[in-house]
């Protein structure tokens, strides 16, 4: 990487940091409990809108993994999300009516919060339908992972988005509050992921899975990106630049090995395809606040017409992280 390219990346990073600072004023604190954050606490950062139904399981899941404090941005919810979160003792909540799209799909808001509260902490940035699974997550808390990453002098941890889906039409199995969504969306595509290295930012660009298979079989290039780097030991000046797909400085994107070995990695189980998806897709397509909302959600709407089944006979039923490791979706690296 040349001097010019490094300098350009630096400018780009500064730009993202400046955007985050500028948009910080859009956030109004509803419940600021950040004074309770202790050195070394594990922090989770989330932007959400109208996700009341999903919240109990989401918070429970990450509390069990060992998240100490949740920093959340409510984007103008009207379903009780705000009150519910404001009442949680380990949640700090901000709210905003500003445009999700204009804030780079929440990136600016969360970069701003991480700037204020994330430095020297391990920060997990996830949506409410993303559930981190990493090697040994059934026997070792998240802190064991971050301690190991610290000892190995690793600053960021990759976790591909793994789209989960139910067997049968989405509407057939309604999700109820507090339920493990993967009791319903228990299935995934195990071996149809493709990727290339993004020459600029140095991250892997991964596509595939059920969304490519069912919705983008004729236009695979348009299939959504699945690569994510949700867990980062934050430092001042870091910034996500495109959802959690990529960061700057770009060394943080090197979560993969290029010399033939494997680096430790996890997945974000993605509970997108539940019965709530249909209504959601329509609403989001109308709002136009999501990335390529029109394209993507039109594809989903067409793909799911007539109660179409995403399941096929080679779909894999989720068991645990060991299964994902054997299938080659995640790796233990040299963590044993």
């Amino acid at each position: 990487m040349g001097v010019v390219s490094s300098y350009r990346m630096r400018l780009r990073r500064k730009l993202w940091v400046a955007r985050a600072r500028a948009r910080r004023s859009q956030l109004r604190a509803v419940a600021d409990r950040t004074r309770a954050i202790r050195g070394g606490d594990l922090l989770a950062f989330t932007t959400l809108r109208n996700e009341r139904l999903r919240l109990p399981y989401f918070l429970d899941y990450y509390r069990r993994l060992g998240i100490d404090h949740f920093l959340m941005v409510d984007n103008d919810s009207v379903d009780g999300t705000r009150d519910y979160l404001a009442a949680q003792p380990d949640v700090s909540l901000w709210t905003t009516e500003a445009s999700y799209r204009a804030s780079a799909y929440g990136v600016d808001w969360l970069n701003g919060l991480a700037r204020s509260h994330g430095a020297r902490h391990w920060c997990l940035t996830v949506d409410v339908d993303e559930f981190l699974v990493y090697p040994f997550c059934d026997s070792r808390p998240l802190r064991a992972l971050t301690d190991w990453l610290d000892a190995s002098q690793i600053r960021s941890f990759g976790a591909m988005l793994l789209d989960m889906y139910p067997k049968g039409p989405l509407a057939a199995q309604p999700y109820s509050e507090g339920q493990d969504p993967f009791e319903i969306a228990a299935w995934f595509d195990a071996g149809n992921y493709v990727m290339e290295r993004n020459p600029g930012l140095g991250n892997l660009w991964i596509q595939g899975g059920v969304r490519a298979r069912a919705f983008f079989a004729d236009a695979p290039r348009k299939a959504p990106a699945l690569n994510k780097t949700p867990l980062v030991r934050w430092a001042p000046g870091y910034a996500y630049v495109s959802s959690t797909h990529a960061l700057l400085p770009r060394g943080l994107n090197r979560t993969f090995e290029e010399a033939g070995g494997e680096k430790a990695s996890g997945v974000l189980l993605h509970a997108k395809f539940l019965d709530t998806f249909g209504a959601r897709a329509e609403e989001e397509a109308a709002r136009g606040e999501h990335y390529r909302a029109a394209d993507e959600y039109r594809a989903y709407a067409e793909g799911l017409e007539g109660g179409r089944d995403l399941w096929c006979r080679w779909s894999e039923r989720y068991i645990n992280w060991r299964q994902l490791e054997i299938l080659g979706l995640i790796s233990k690296g040299n963590w044993a």
């Binding site: 990759g158 976790a159 298979r213 236009a219 695979p220 993969f256 090995e257 070995g261 494997e262």
Partner: protein, 560 residues
């Protein structure tokens, strides 16, 4: 009591306290060295917790920097304090704050009592050693290391390289042979006293203080000089990863640790509550008096190191995306590609499936979609037959297919009518066996009832594509096993040609009996007709001049 523990500590004080009290409760004195980097207030608070424990003492503090002499100095301080304060101690065991005893102390003292006068210290002669991770074996002693490796890595490396170029070599002191070994040892009072009170200790200390990672060589070398009986192994189970840092034990390692029969394990994650409560339980039943056997744990960690260093061949995922040339094998398992045989034998795929077993696909790169075995729409791993998905990343399509079906041999057909983009990848792969009968595709074309001009144009097109493919076979990067014949060469003895190929791919049986082959009798005439029509047939090979007189043909483009 005959055994004392020296503990080097810089963090996880609660766990250290638990372990120290565990040992003291068994009657073993403990001397704790707390890193001078720990603030004085924190140190005092920690020390004051032990007012009720006369067997637990503290020694003077040294500021410890990894890889430097300071670690040896701290150890010396602790040992001197131990030997002076507890004259009844016959063995000193060096441990760290993240060590965990795996067996009751009585078993360890019994083990030592059964082996009086034995020093347990891993100690490998430098000339023999392939011991360290960093590879600086002998140079640890002969070069100078003024820069800290962790904080000034580039300077460290540059200075080391400079000394190599200049041929710098420090002189070894008289009377010692450098040895390396694990930092965690258990020495007898006699050996330790001999080392610490040697008349030339000052000179030795001065020399070792300039060596690299002296904590892995100082005692290991000097024990050789003074000890009468050395058992060259550590009683502490400690494994190192590819970066040279210790592997860490968690609750899920409990069964492995229990079966290891090792006395002490390092290093244990401070949050591993299950391990601490199990192994420090005073009512824990005594195990059998077994020899320590770290073999099983060794295997687990060696596997992890290999996974990190080499990875699983043929796997491309978010943690493994090798640059070109660094992949090892490009795919996960051996597979076979047949070019042209399906055109010659109408029953080729089912016959091959019976003959080879495994899964026999049609043309995976057929322009209208992958022809999976049984013409399924989706294959293992939810791999789709969609041509757009496949052609988006045709190489990874194949890598995925082979990965998803590992354990079952995959065989597929290929020809000039298919999407060609993946072939350089296939040919670079040592797992591929590619069998080519070039020009064979012409046989069904001859038999078709399409108009001659159309067939001629098609043949010209396919021949151009196949010629390019054949040139790839001669490329410098080809690693696949190749078997290639022209149609003419193959026709001279199909069974003799195929038998060795099939034997190589799967089994020993010959190719007999082959399925029925399309008749080739019309080929020579047809090729002549092509020549006459201005297309030079090349890839089919030499069928000689047709015996019969060429039939009279007409039509545009005919040159005569």
């Amino acid at each position: 009591m005959s055994l004392g523990f020296v503990l080097l500590v810089h963090t996880a004080f609660d766990r250290t306290e638990q372990v120290a009290r565990h040992w003291a409760a068994a009657g073993c004195p403990v001397v704790i060295h707390v890193d001078a980097k720990v603030p004085r207030a924190a140190f005092r608070a920690f020390r004051d917790r032990f007012g009720d424990a006369p067997l637990i003492r503290f020694c003077g503090r040294v500021r410890v920097e990894w890889g430097t002499w300071s670690l040896v100095a701290a150890t010396q301080t602790g040992c001197e304090r131990m030997l002076a304060a507890f004259p009844e101690v016959r063995h000193v065991y060096l441990a760290s704050g993240s060590c965990l005893p795996l067996r009751p102390v009585a078993e360890l003292t019994g083990y030592l009592a059964d082996r009086p006068g034995v020093d347990f210290i891993e100690s490998v002669a430098v000339e023999e050693a392939d011991w360290a991770v960093d590879g600086l074996e002998a140079e640890r002693f002969t070069l100078h290391f003024p820069f800290p490796w962790r904080r000034r890595r580039r300077l460290f490396d540059a200075f080391t390289e400079l000394q190599r170029r200049l041929g710098v070599a420090r002189k070894l002191p008289e009377g010692i042979v450098p040895h390396l070994g694990s930092q965690w040892w258990c020495l007898t009072r006699e050996t330790l006293e001999a080392i610490l009170t040697a008349p030339d200790r000052r000179a030795m200390d001065a020399w070792f203080s300039r060596a690299w990672i002296p904590d892995e060589s100082y005692f290991q070398t000097l024990a050789r000089r003074h000890s009468t009986r050395i058992e060259s192994r550590s009683l502490t189970l400690a494994k190192f990863d590819v970066q040279g840092k210790p592997h860490i034990f968690y609750d899920d390692h409990r069964p492995l640790l229990e079966r290891s029969d090792c006395f002490v394990a390092r290093k244990v994650w401070p949050g591993a509550e299950g391990l601490y409560s199990t192994f420090l339980d005073p009512d824990r039943p005594a195990a059998r008096m077994a020899e320590p056997d770290p073999g099983k744990i060794d295997r687990v960690f060696s596997r992890a190191n290999r996974r990190r260093a080499n990875g699983r061949a043929g796997l491309y995922n978010q943690g493994r995306f090798p640059a070109k040339g660094r992949e090892g094998k490009l795919t996960a398992a051996p597979f076979a590609v047949f070019c042209g045989l399906g055109a010659l034998f109408p029953d080729w795929e089912p016959w091959l499936a019976r003959r080879l077993g495994g899964r026999v696909h049609g043309h995976l790169y057929h322009p209208e979609g992958a022809e999976f075995a049984g013409r399924e729409e989706v294959l293992n791993g939810c791999l789709s037959a969609s041509p757009a998905l496949r052609d988006y990343r045709p190489e990874q399509f194949l890598a995925n297919l082979i990965w998803n079906t590992r354990g079952e041999r995959q065989t597929w057909q290929f020809g000039p009518g298919d999407t060609q983009a993946a072939m350089p990848f296939v040919l670079r792969d040592r797992n591929a066996t590619v069998t080519v009968v070039s020009g064979a595709w012409v046989v069904p074309l001859i038999a078709s009832d399409r108009p001659f001009d159309e067939v001629r144009a098609e043949i010209a097109r396919l021949q151009r594509i196949e010629a390019a493919f054949l040139r790839l076979l001669d490329g410098p990067e080809v690693a696949a096993r190749l078997h290639r014949w022209t149609l003419a060469e193959f026709a001279a003895g199909p069974e003799d040609r195929l038998a060795p190929v099939l034997a190589e791919i799967g089994g020993t049986e010959g190719a007999r009996p082959l399925p029925a082959m399309r008749p080739l009798s019309a080929v020579p005439d047809f090729l002549q007709r092509l020549r006459n029509a201005g297309v030079k047939p090349v890839v089919m090979g030499d069928f000689g001049v047709p015996v019969s007189t060429p039939p009279r043909v007409g039509g545009p483009g005919l040159v005569r």
